[in-house]
């Protein structure tokens, strides 16, 4: 049963990871390291750097985010990520879908109870 649940959480996390990244960027422009530190604290998301950077790269390729480099006095140069208009549109669609899905699952839960 434990294996089954683990596999299920992996699938759920994969599904909502993009949403979480887009939401974090919708608030403000963030650089990679900062994003990691922000999202690592989200309970249940289980994000690692190995997952985040490929995802950010794909979002950029898809045109949902844009990047810019900025030198830092505290260490290496920082790469900032900013949401594009298309990214905001995609985020809106994802939010709507999640709301619908949550409503649906909640209604099932009530019936089940």
């Amino acid at each position: 049963m434990s294996d089954y649940f683990d596999n299920w959480t992996v699938q759920v996390r994969k599904g909502v990871l993009d949403l979480c990244v887009l939401r974090a960027l919708a608030e403000k422009e963030r650089y990679g390291y900062e994003l990691v530190k922000t999202l690592v604290d989200v309970p249940g998301l289980g994000l690692t750097e190995g997952t985040l950077y490929p995802l950010l790269s794909r979002l950029r390729v898809q045109g949902l985010v844009i990047t810019r480099l900025e030198e830092s006095t505290e260490g290496p140069a920082r790469k900032y990520y900013t949401l594009t208009a298309e990214g905001r549109k995609a985020l809106g669609l994802m939010e709507d879908y999640m709301d619908t899905l949550n409503k649906g699952t909640r209604s099932l839960r009530r019936k089940g109870e």
Binding site: D18, G50, P54, S57, R60, P76
Partner: protein
């Protein structure tokens, strides 16, 4: 300032090299991600305040970062997300393009359906190459392939992932069936391509192969309906196995039959028996019957795999016919020829059995399609007091085939009967036969019918009371051929006041009798005649005469319904006639005799069709055994002696044993008959009763039996044969011409006929013995008030004489006598040729039409006296001329 050791750098590069393929396949920019990670590690190192970064530090940091996860591609297609916000399904990513879908639909569904429909409608492949759809099961299995492909195609179009599992099974089975047919059609693929190139069509032979390719392609698409492209689709091997199993079940009986046929045709006795057992258990009748007609092209079923397994060795038609009888217990030609599936157009000629292997031979052979009995007429006159009948049977054959055919039939004559006239209509004129030695007339027939392919008809004997009639050609395309046989026969007398006439009937034939064709029967005479059936009714007749007429089916003609009961004067126990064919003044008389056997040996045929008669024969054995020494032999795979010699209880025990006899297939009766003969010969006055089904195949040589009969001498056993139903008998054919063989008249039920036979040996019953003697003076002939009768009496006497001369090994004298009395006997035959030139060329002379027996037209009594007077004058003149010629 931070310093990285060489080992640390190497470890980091190894890590990047390892993750690069995964990054590239995930849709991310691999170089960008690696740069990001490098930057992130630098930030971590700076944050941790490390001055020197070692290999262990790198490993620790990388362990926390973890391997890069590759998110599903679907998550990154949100930019083009649908308005309904529906999550993307697996089907949408596995669905092929429209062109590919169309190809799958055409190759996997539409083309196979068109091919199947065309083959069913035209039998194109069956006519040209082999029959791919010999049974309804083959049709259903072939139709299964496009059905399974259509279901798979539909599920892919609709993204019905929930149907994946059972579609996997169906698809596996479809691949199995399509693969089998693709293999069968492999040799036709190249001609198919050539046909497409040159004629623009010819895809049909490719249909199985294309549907196989489509089924494989559809399977890949169905698999992608799953949660991931790599998820396996169940049911391939099991479905494939099910498809092949279904094919095996359809093909197995035919294949098993062919193997059984080869075993049964083996030279090894053990293998023969094993083959027969196998065929009786699992043989397919249809396959065996096809083998009886030889393996010409139109007759073959789809047999490529069978040939691969069983080899190309074929059992000859002759052997197959013998095996068929031994397995089924009936002659192969007692049922219509098997259906032949052929094509149209240039293959239309194959729509029937094209090759008649028995043409001109002495066997009836298989049924020929297109050849049928067009009309049949039997006219019978009876002289009750003189105890003879004369029947003229006119047969007309029709041939609807597109090539000339030879009609052949074996006819069962009335007991003790003989063919005394043969007529053929040539261009509307009657031509009478030449009577001569058997080999002479057959040679003439062969020369004219087979080599010159002109118009002859031949009649020869084929056993006691049996003749073979063959005529050629029955003209093609609806042509007719008409022949007439005259048959003289003694009456069978149950008592002095009652006799029986049995009309001749067809025992075996190579032509068909269409529904509605009846035998038209007329019988008349100066006596009361009662019919055996309501189908015959009283007709108009002169004063003092009676007549019957009506129509009988072929089945009725060979049944007791065709028996005519004749009332006679019980005081008139003798008859005489002046023998006008004899040199000098000679007269023929008949006499009455009583016979009682000393020992009775029953020979029971152990064939399958005898099973219903075991109880009946057992009752007869008990009746005989009550007063007479009785033995019982059964002809099974081996001769089984059911009792030792004895009467009373021993006979009853034998009867009980007979009731438990196991019957199967068709059995060889010759060994049992020979053993019975040897037992009967030990005691003078013995009688053998042989109760048997038709024997369409002579399974072993009958030479030892015929030798025993030839050397029998005085006081030889008498053999009475009772055949349970009409049909050919190859054993009796070999016993042709022996006076000790008697066919028992079948009047009705076997029990009644056996009872009458047994009763005829009792002293209280007088049996009219058809013994005829020659006397030198009319006064001696007339003695006792004997009735004067027709020359038929002399013909019957001549038949006895021919048998006697043959037994005394005087064949030339026998042939001369038979020819003089114009009789078809074991030593002589009758042939009608088309013209005088043919007669001259073959050294034959047709009989004078004035000398043949005839039946006067009813109601022409006034002409009869004049005709008889003229005939007498002609005969006298001819005799005198003959005498001068002899001198």
């Amino acid at each position: 300032m931070t310093t990285w050791t060489e080992a640390a750098r190497a470890e980091l590069e190894r890590y990047f090299t390892g993750i690069r393929p995964a990054l590239e396949s995930s849709g991310a920019d691999a170089n960008e991600v690696i740069e990001d990670l490098r930057r992130h590690l630098d930030a971590e190192v700076a944050s941790a305040g490390l001055a020197i970064v070692t290999e262990q530090d790198v490993q620790r940091l990388l362990a926390r970062i973890g391997a890069p996860e590759t998110a599903p591609a679907a998550a990154h297609n949100l930019a083009t997300a649908r308005p309904e916000h529906q999550p993307e399904t697996a089907s949408s990513k596995s669905k092929p393009g429209k062109f590919i879908s169309g190809l799958f639909l055409f190759a996997g569904v539409i083309l196979p359906i068109i091919t199947l429909a065309l083959e069913l409608a035209t039998h194109m492949c069956a006519g040209a190459f082999f029959d791919p759809l010999p049974t309804i099961w083959n049709v259903l299995l072939v139709a299964f392939v496009p059905a399974a492909n259509l279901l798979a195609w539909n599920a892919i179009q609709r993204g019905q992932a929930e149907r994946r599992s059972w579609l996997g099974w169906l698809n596996g089975a479809a691949i199995g069936v399509a693969g089998y047919y693709a293999f069968l059609f492999l040799p036709l693929l190249l001609p198919g391509i050539i046909a497409v190139l040159f004629f623009g069509w010819g895809l049909l032979p490719w249909s199985p192969m294309l549907s196989l390719i489509a089924a494989v392609g559809l399977r890949r698409q169905v698999r992608r309906l799953g949660p991931s492209p790599e998820a396996p689709l169940p049911g391939f091997w099991r479905g494939l196995g099910l498809g092949l199993l279904a094919l095996a079940l359809i093909e197995a009986p035919g294949l098993a039959t062919k193997i059984g046929l080869q075993m049964a045709a083996s030279d090894s006795v053990e293998e023969q028996r094993a083959g027969l057992r196998w065929l009786r258990l699992a043989g397919r009748e249809d396959t065996m019957r096809r083998a009886c007609y030889g393996f010409n092209r139109g007759a073959q079923q789809m047999d490529i795999v069978g040939s691969l397994i069983a080899g190309e060795e074929r059992v000859s038609a002759e052997k197959a016919r013998a095996i068929y009888y031994r397995v089924i217990g009936r002659p192969f030609n007692s049922v219509p020829a098997p259906e032949v599936r052929t094509g149209r157009g240039p293959f239309a000629d194959l729509n029937e059995w094209t090759w008649d292997d028995d043409h001109g031979g002495d066997k009836v052979g298989g049924r020929l399609k297109g050849l049928s009995l067009h009309s049949s007429r039997l006219d019978t006159v009876v002289d009750a007091e003189a105890a003879w009948s004369y029947t003229e049977w006119t047969l007309e054959f029709k041939n609807d085939a597109n090539q000339n055919r030879e009609a052949r039939t074996q006819i069962l004559l009335p007991p003790g009967g003989v063919v005394s006239r043969l007529t053929l209509w040539v261009n509307g004129e009657e031509r009478e036969a030449a009577f001569a030695g058997r080999s002479h007339v057959r040679e003439a027939y062969q020369q004219v019918a087979v080599q010159q392919r002109r118009d002859p008809v031949l009649v020869t004997t084929a056993g006691p009371d049996r003749v073979l009639v063959q005529c050629f050609p029955v003209p093609r395309n609806g042509g007719l051929m008409k022949v007439r046989l005259g048959i003289t026969a003694p009456l069978t007398l149950a008592s002095a006041s009652e006799g029986t006439v049995r009309l001749p009937c067809l025992l075996e034939r190579n032509f068909n009798i269409r529904e509605g064709v009846r035998h038209s029967v007329w019988a008349g005479g100066a006596c009361e005649i009662k019919p055996g059936s309501n189908a015959l009714t009283t007709g108009a007749a002169e004063a003092g005469h009676s007549a019957l007429r009506g129509m009988l089916t072929n089945g009725e003609l060979s049944s007791p319904m065709a028996l005519l009961t004749v009332a006679r004067d019980p005081l008139q126990l003798s008859a005489w006639t002046k023998d006008t064919r004899a040199a000098g003044e000679k007269f023929i008389r008949q006499r009455v005799a009583v016979q009682e056997p000393s020992r009775v040996i029953f020979v029971m045929d152990g064939s399958r069709d005898m099973a219903p008669h075991l109880d009946t024969v057992a009752d007869a054995i008990r009746a005989v055994a009550a007063s007479t020494e009785t033995l019982v032999l059964a002809a099974s795979d081996e001769v089984v002696a059911l009792s030792g010699a004895g009467s009373g209880q021993r006979g009853a025990d034998a009867a009980t044993a007979l009731q438990h006899l196991k019957t199967y297939g068709g059995q060889d009766n010759v060994p049992a008959l020979l053993q019975a003969w040897n037992l009967a010969a030990q005691k003078s006055g013995s009688v053998i009763i042989w109760v048997h089904a038709p024997q369409p195949v002579l399974q072993a040589s009958a030479e030892a039996l015929t030798q025993a009969l030839e050397r029998a001498g005085q006081g030889a056993p008498q053999l009475f044969e009772l055949q349970t139903e009409p049909g050919p008998d190859r054993v009796l054919e070999k016993l042709d011409g022996f006076a000790v063989i008697h066919s028992v008249l079948r009047k009705g039920e076997l029990a009644q006929d056996l009872k009458e036979l047994v009763a005829s040996w009792e002293a209280s019953h007088q049996r009219w013995s058809p013994a005829r003697t020659v006397v030198d003076s009319e006064a001696a002939a007339r003695e006792g008030g004997a009735k004067e009768t027709d020359l038929h009496l002399a013909r019957l006497w001549a038949l006895d004489e021919v048998r006697r001369l043959r037994a005394e090994r005087k064949p030339d004298e026998a042939v001369r006598l038979a020819a003089r009395y114009q009789l078809v006997t074991p030593v002589s035959g009758a042939v009608v040729l088309e013209n005088q030139e043919q007669y001259r060329a073959t050294g034959l002379q047709p009989v004078d039409p004035q000398t043949v027996p005839a039946i006067p037209e009813p109601g022409s009594g006034a002409l009869i006296g004049l005709g008889v007077a003229l005939l007498w004058l002609v005969q006298r003149n001819r005799r005198e001329s003959s005498k001068e010629g002899c001198k």
